[in-house]
Assembly symmetry: C2
Homo-oligomer: 144 residues x 2
Amino acid sequence: MPNTARWAATLTLTATAVCGPVVGSAHAAPAAGPSGLYAPSALVLTTGHGATAATVTPERAVTLNCAPTASGTHPAAVQACAELRGAGGDPGALTLRDGVFCTRQYDPVVVTVEGVWQGKRVSYERTFANECVKNSYGTTVFTF
Amino acid sequence: MPNTARWAATLTLTATAVCGPVVGSAHAAPAAGPSGLYAPSALVLTTGHGATAATVTPERAVTLNCAPTASGTHPAAVQACAELRGAGGDPGALTLRDGVFCTRQYDPVVVTVEGVWQGKRVSYERTFANECVKNSYGTTVFTF
């Protein structure tokens, strides 16, 4: 193979390797076809300091798609989808991890999860005593 | 520059050009840093056949992030973000396009938009007489 052809091939392979999965998750083709080939799972998660979502300004908000592939601005989309699948799509089923210690300081943090999980609406709100406690439920879903 | 060096440079530039924006949108780093560098805009949009969201099974659900860059499973994320920006983030402000004709058939379709727009919660629900009417409001936001 001439030198340039070899480099061109390398270029293509590298571009595929580098971009492949990212393009795949960013453009996760028909989120759910009209024919309903699969039930959509698309969520938006928010968090903010305060006691109830009604009064709290969301400080962070991320999206999470779990079908057909994991994507979104959630920093650990793949793991969060796996965790939610294990919880039957119910963020309330995520339990406190063993061996985690938090102070008892009361500096409440609200998390909301809204959208659709496998075709069913999700509307979840939970207040944790502080950020550490929030991050102690499950492993990745609330950590954004 | 030797031939290989030139190809290496091309490779880097190409990878940056190809992957730059996509990586940027897929891994839109801290969706909104705790320091509030920018107010988050993250939404989940659903649609289904029926009169009210409470009774309708969402047939499609897509996510849409508009800060810091447009991304999500919405099929026209960039345009939908631009359109929402023009509407001040209020899907209810999207108006019927001129010159669009729909039948008067009543086959209601519900659209919901939930999440956060520039740091404020959004909770929107609207029922359209049929799919054609839904797609006649604005240009891209409801077309998913």
